[in-house]
Symmetry: C2
Subunit: 361 residues, 2 copies
């Protein structure tokens, strides 16, 4: 062959995926992601002071929403979108018109695999989302759909087709995602272990979903990806992604959708202030002792076949059962309803019935 | 320091662990394991022709049982121990007087980690068994008790003590543990991926337990580690470890005991004949489609607080529900009872009540 083509190959799902970034600062971190993100569309959700100008490096295709935009677009329903907290990112999920979302924090950089090669996190998320999940039985060699792997002896053949994957949860090298108490106790701990695996979280099992490096199929699960009421005027922070993860997992288990965790890694550059975090978290730390049993025992009725109807049902259960824990959950339950109403307003194609992970036409 | 001590350090649990090896051949494979096994006691279960002499390399401390020994020791109850199948290994669990068992196949060799260092599989199993399990909530950074890792943000603090670990399931590099159909379809597939992780199998989730590289706490779960009726005179083979794994997991979930999988790896040297395997497996391949739902929905009554009482209760459910699948399961259910009776005869210190994973004194 004479000459090597300089044309970059079209990246996977180029026109079907939006990258959602919540931020309060200039997006210099995008420079490092340029080779991987430049051909995708970005949705930037500016938190805090809307008069501040956020600089985005040249050459990126983006739309940016600040608080004024959110208020204008949602009107009174803007109350469901958090302010001064990265929970505001879920506004980006709502205004996207794409099938897939990848969301990443602006203190996350490109990690290297053990061979020293830059990890294309987005590509791995897409692989995770485009291959099935296996939540009904555990495969000891991890993701059976990966090259060089398969289902092991004793894995029922009837379960080998798997089910559609709704969520791909990626991990972090360097600064691990610890709570404030653990940060305080282990200020120097860094995650240096590259675990070369992707696995399905089994049905009926909850996990702590972190929003730092996360992708999902918006068509399958979007309306459940609400990051709650956090930050300004709220008694709690840093539980936005956790809340979304617990709600989402209960609904995925009910609808027959899969959730994966593991690869890809990003490089998390900076630990947030543990003292500030403790102030945000401390109510969550004791509330979650009641939230986890609540979500572990939550069941949804059979006639809830859309994500929206599941989510509304869950909001009722939150109000009925968690309202006793604190009045905050009454407010949150109302905000969950507002969120779904706002979602449906901005996405008028309507609810889609999902049965065993398949979206009805 | 003048001079380096040549005295090897006392290995972990030296006097509390037996290594159980089922075999039909000379145990030359032990040469490679010498640095890791030499200070432990071996229980060799000789399968097949009892008149054959099995050679064990010099310097190992062992006891060896052939079929004549099994018949002599168990009398009529010897019927529960399989013949001409590696399922016979469970006889070794029964005659052991130690707290822990490690069992390994004689075609398994020492694997190397990615840095080229020999992996001390037994040491890793012991670490797995001596640290708690976390089956009630998934930790995304895998084993939270490992150096350099911890529970991540959002992990309930009340669950961070974990529960006692009953079983450690190790994996295999080189020849993966595939069933006959997968072996036939992918004859050249080799497992080259070293996944540097140990994780707890969540509560309520079943997995395919392989007997090739397996350790367990005999005091906590021993009587549930029955490898069933396989091989000579039976309609099925190669489901011995699977059967044990399903029964064991249901009982661990009931009693509050943990099961881990992942590290350590061994090097599995030789694929067994897929045509022979297919003959052994084919009934299992369709039976397991009914076995998995049976075990997934099996529940044990609260008053079953010993492994023995759980196992007897499970045998009744097998008889009542799986007897319809095939008469074989009626025979197997009876053998389960015989197994527990034989276990109690050889281990007269009696049943131990386990509540939330704690053995009552």
């Amino acid at each position: 062959m004479a000459g090597v083509s300089k044309v970059a190959p079209t990246p996977l799902l180029k026109d079907e995926l939006d990258i959602v970034i919540p931020t309060i600062r200039n997006l210099d971190f995008l420079e490092m992601w340029r080779p991987f993100f430049e051909q995708y569309h970005l949705i930037i959700v500016q938190d805090g002071d809307p008069s501040k100008v956020i600089k985005v490096p040249e050459g990126f295709d983006y739309e940016l929403y600040n608080r004024n935009d959110i208020n204008r677009i949602l009107g009174p329903k803007a109350s469901c979108i958090s302010f001064k907290d990265s929970a505001c990112r879920c506004f980006g999920y709502m205004v996207s018109k794409k099938k897939y979302i990848f969301t990443i924090d602006d203190d996350c950089f490109v990690a290297k695999d053990p061979s020293g090669k830059d990890i294309n996190a987005l590509e791995q998320h897409i692989k995770n989302l485009l291959t099935p999940s296996t939540p009904f039985f555990f495969n000891t060699l991890y993701d059976p759909y990966r090259e060089g792997a398969d289902f092991v002896r004793g894995y029922p053949f009837s379960l080998r087709e798997g089910i559609p994957t709704a969520v791909s949860h990626g991990l972090w090298l360097n600064i691990p995602d610890y709570d404030a108490p653990t940060q305080l106790v282990k200020p120097l701990e860094r995650n240096t272990r590259f675990v070369d695996a992707v696995l399905t979280i089994p049905k009926g099992t909850l996990f702590p979903m972190c929003g730092m490096n996360l992708a999902f199929n918006r068509e399958l699960i979007g309306p459940a990806m609400y990051f709650g009421l956090m930050g300004d005027g709220q008694p709690i922070g840093r539980y936005d992604d956790m809340w979304a993860g617990w709600c989402m997992k209960v609904i995925c288990d009910h609808l027959g959708l899969g959730v994966k965790t593991g690869l890809p890694y990003i490089w998390h550059s900076k630990a947030s202030n543990p003292f500030v975090n403790l102030k945000k978290e401390y109510k969550g730390i004791y509330w979650q002792e009641e939230l986890i049993p609540f979500f572990q025992s939550a069941t949804l009725p059979k006639d809830c076949t859309t994500v929206q109807s599941c989510y509304i049902e869950l909001s009722k259960q939150v109000k009925a059962k968690l309202g006793k824990v604190d009045d905050y959950f009454l407010k949150l339950a109302d905000a969950m309803v507002t969120w779904v109403e706002a979602w449906d307003e901005l996405n008028p194609s309507g609810e889609k019935s999902v049965e065993n992970g398949v979206v009805a036409k």
